[in-house]
């Protein structure tokens, strides 16, 4: 393992976060002075295709206590806990309910339940992994709620892997001093999401699909009080009024920061950040992007596809073109990615793929050699199947990998209940920031979404009882636009929020977007 000093030097020189010209300062609004990736800054300086002055805020389609924007794991858990406490709850989502990065999580969820583990060790691992930039109160919440969240999920019927003795199977992720990741094969997120979706249906919670929020609505006291939506099929625009709003819109992978491929869902276009910024929510650490070390570099049809960190946890090694290991595989993701970029770039020891891309080997057959024949079938059926489709037998051949954009480490600033700097606006999951510092550990995002989804849902339902919403306004949107214009940086040609990535025509050939 590298020392903290060696880590810092490696990051400074090779991590994409520190590349010249990749980020710029936000010039106006609540987040003035924050540095964010250019691709996000562009959206912050864009305009909404929906004109605020044309929205009639007196015509409200539906009135609810708790409005949850986003139908992944964070939104679904917030909904279950809010509805359980009697709140009239509505979940809206841009695509289908469950379409999210949650379903794509392969490796698992962290919880310190092992004999030689403790929430304190989980705390240290998380802080160190984040470069000690994490907000301590959030990490405290994360690690103390983790065992309870794991038990809650198991009680909902999630089939977590068991070991030979019938206990919960636990694996390593990078940066962990104990095995702490709990999995359901390499389908962990999908298994959790389909269970959670089923439970939301069981509870009769209202779901509105194909309806992205395009603007947050405030009331005359500056509190968040609903949102404007678009029906993606009919293009109808409508207003939902609510006492509390919980944003759970996920991340930004589909902006393709610095042209990287991404592991993210089609819908990960930073919509929540864009509308929250206009509404006055502070963001934190949004210049810290996570590049997962093992994105697929070949075959091209799988470019950017996540190859679970659990492979390295199960003893697969990273090897350069000369057959040498170049980094301890259990280093954190930022370190491992930087080391790979160094190996392929400065050291020129990459492996060229048939399509001309460079990568390094992930020696997957080692898993079968070290952990027994059949291990890959048992622990990685999804990835086995994916590669098998393209004629690559990962039990016998290594995989060619290269870092791929995976996660936004930062996001909307929240307190330990998920509340943002805008009254009655909460945020949960990837859209929020602070808990992971500058680099999230594997297994901490499936945990984060449920810890803070639950906390936000509970407080939202309690607080909603005492709120009467004032007169609705979109004044903040127009004010923000005026500020942009005054500063000469308004970008009328950019529509924000983006809602859907555009991969049409030649863009389908650029190869970056899986």
């Amino acid at each position: 393992m590298l020392s903290l000093k060696e880590r810092q030097e490696l990051l400074r020189e090779f991590h994409p976060d520190f590349r010249e010209g990749g980020r710029r300062e936000i010039k106006v609004g609540i987040n003035r002075g924050e540095r964010v990736p250019n691709e996000l800054a562009d959206l912050f300086e864009g305009v909404n295709a929906i004109r605020p002055e044309k929205i009639d805020l007196t015509r409200v389609k539906e009135d609810v206590d708790v409005l949850i924007i986003g139908g992944g794991g964070g939104g679904a858990s917030a909904a279950l806990f809010a509805a359980e406490r009697g709140a009239k709850t509505l979940v809206t989502t841009k695509l289908r309910f469950g379409d999210s990065n949650t379903i794509m999580a392969e490796g698992g969820i962290q919880a310190a339940v092992g004999e030689f583990d403790s929430p304190a060790l989980h705390y240290l691992d998380t802080m160190g992994g984040g470069g000690f930039y994490n907000l301590p109160n959030l990490v405290h919440a994360l690690v103390t709620d983790a065992p309870m969240i794991l038990e809650w999920l198991a009680r909902l019927g999630v089939m977590f892997d068991r070991n030979d003795q019938g206990g919960l199977l636990a694996s390593f992720a990078g940066g962990q001093c104990r095995r702490r990741v709990h999995s359901a094969a390499d389908y962990t997120g999908m298994e959790i999401m389909r269970v959670m979706r089923d439970e939301v249906y069981s509870q009769g919670i209202e779901i509105m699909e194909f309806s992205p929020a395009v603007e947050l609505v405030l009331d005359d006291q500056g509190r968040c009080a609903g949102a404007v939506f678009v029906n993606l099929d009919t293009r109808e625009q409508f207003v939902i009024r609510s006492k509390i709003v919980i944003l759970a819109t996920g991340g930004i992978g589909r902006l393709h920061i610095q042209g990287f491929p991404t592991t993210n869902h089609y819908g990960a276009t930073a919509d929540g950040l864009v509308i929250a910024n206009r509404a006055g929510a502070k963001i934190i650490l949004m210049d810290a992007i996570q590049f997962h070390p093992t994105g697929t570099a070949y075959p091209e049809q799988l470019l950017g596809l996540l190859v679970s960190e659990a492979f390295r946890g199960w003893s697969a090694q990273l090897v350069n073109g000369e057959g040498q290991r170049f980094i301890n595989e259990l280093e954190t993701r930022d370190i491992t990615s930087s080391a790979t970029i160094r190996e392929v770039g400065k050291r020129k020891k990459g492996v060229p793929s048939p399509t001309g891309m460079q990568g390094v080997w992930l020696d997957t057959p080692l898993v079968e050699i070290n952990k027994g024949k059949g291990t890959i079938h048992r622990i990685f059926p999804h990835l086995f199947h994916r590669f098998h489709t393209f004629g690559i037998e990962i039990t016998k051949e290594p995989i060619l990998v290269y870092p791929t954009q995976h996660y936004q480490n930062g996001g909307i600033f929240v307190d330990e209940h998920g509340e943002t700097t805008v009254k009655n606006l909460f945020a949960a999951g990837e859209v929020s920031g602070g808990v992971h510092g500058r680099n999230r550990l594997g297994g901490n995002s499936l945990l984060d979404i449920f810890v803070f989804g639950r906390r936000a849902g509970i407080l939202a339902a309690e607080r909603a009882k005492d709120i009467s919403v004032g007169k609705l306004t979109l004044g903040h949107v127009l004010d923000y636009e005026k500020e942009l214009e005054k500063s000469g940086i308004l970008k009328k040609q950019i529509q924000a929020p983006l809602l859907l990535p555009d991969y049409r025509y030649e863009k389908a050939l650029t190869g970056v977007h899986l």
């Binding site: 240290l124 160190g128 003893s315 050939l509």
Partner: protein
């Protein structure tokens, strides 16, 4: 990328002809043809079930079912998509269910209508033995249904083809939830840890960690003991670390 552009093929999307470069998946070929997906697109990695696509290729009588993001285009391929399949989902409260015999058939009695035509298995893009798990469901073998169906992405391809009008993914989901909730045991250690946290066993040490300045925290971090890859017989030298005071090692 250039070599792809040199060689193109014709495909038919909803009956309309398009020229696309060779070697693209159906999903990318449709985008190349000008489609910006709202439906029929999700994870783009074969796990969300959004992009179920039916196609025929010339000279073959079969109507194939596949995921658009995982399937390469072929010359003269005829493509159509059905992004949404209504499924029957019965109301139930999982907590109150037990793994009583015949529970799956009680909640979804239509499973007894299975004609054993095996179309469900044939069309499954995940190559799941769908008919087989329905047979196990009929026999009340919840665990087998749960494990056989584990890779189901709930795309609904089987549902759209089933002559017995069964919603297989929901039968399987119920089986998995009953198995996960009522048949798999949550280890005592998990409850013990939750109880310890609630009783305040870690309150003090966590408070200390939260209060630490950067220097103390990084120092404590570097003192962690790493569990080895082969942990048979391993026990940490300082099992209570980092409780007070963090031991220097």
């Amino acid at each position: 990328m250039e070599s792809q552009q040199k060689k193109s093929i014709s495909i038919f999307i909803f009956g309309r002809k398009y020229e696309v470069p060779k070697g693209l998946t159906i999903q990318k070929a449709m985008e190349y043809s000008g489609y910006q997906f709202i439906r029929s697109c999700g994870c783009r990695g074969g796990i969300c079930g959004a992009c179920v696509t039916e196609y025929r290729v010339p000279g073959k009588y079969q109507l194939k079912v596949a995921l658009a993001c995982q399937t390469l285009t072929e010359p003269e391929m005829q493509i159509t998509q059905s992004p949404f399949v209504p499924m029957n989902r019965a109301p139930y409260a999982l907590e109150q269910l037990k793994n009583q015999s015949g529970i799956l058939g009680k909640i979804y009695p239509e499973i007894y209508r299975c004609l054993q035509c095996n179309t469900c298995t044939r069309v499954c893009p995940m190559e799941i033995q769908v008919m087989e798990y329905i047979a196990h469901a009929i026999r009340g073998e919840t665990e087998t249904v749960a494990t056989l169906s584990f890779q189901c992405i709930m795309c609904g391809a089987c549902v759209s083809k089933c002559p017995a009008e069964i919603s297989q993914p929901n039968v399987a989901l119920l089986a998995r939830r009953i198995y996960g909730r009522h048949m798999l045991v949550i280890p005592d250690g998990v409850y013990q840890r939750i109880s310890d946290i609630q009783k305040g066993k870690y309150t003090r040490v966590l408070e200390q960690l939260v209060q630490m300045d950067q220097e103390q925290l990084t120092h404590t971090y570097t003192l962690r003991e790493q569990e080895p890859q082969d942990n048979r017989g391993w026990t940490p030298k300082h099992p209570t670390f980092p409780e007070d005071p963090p031991a220097d090692r």
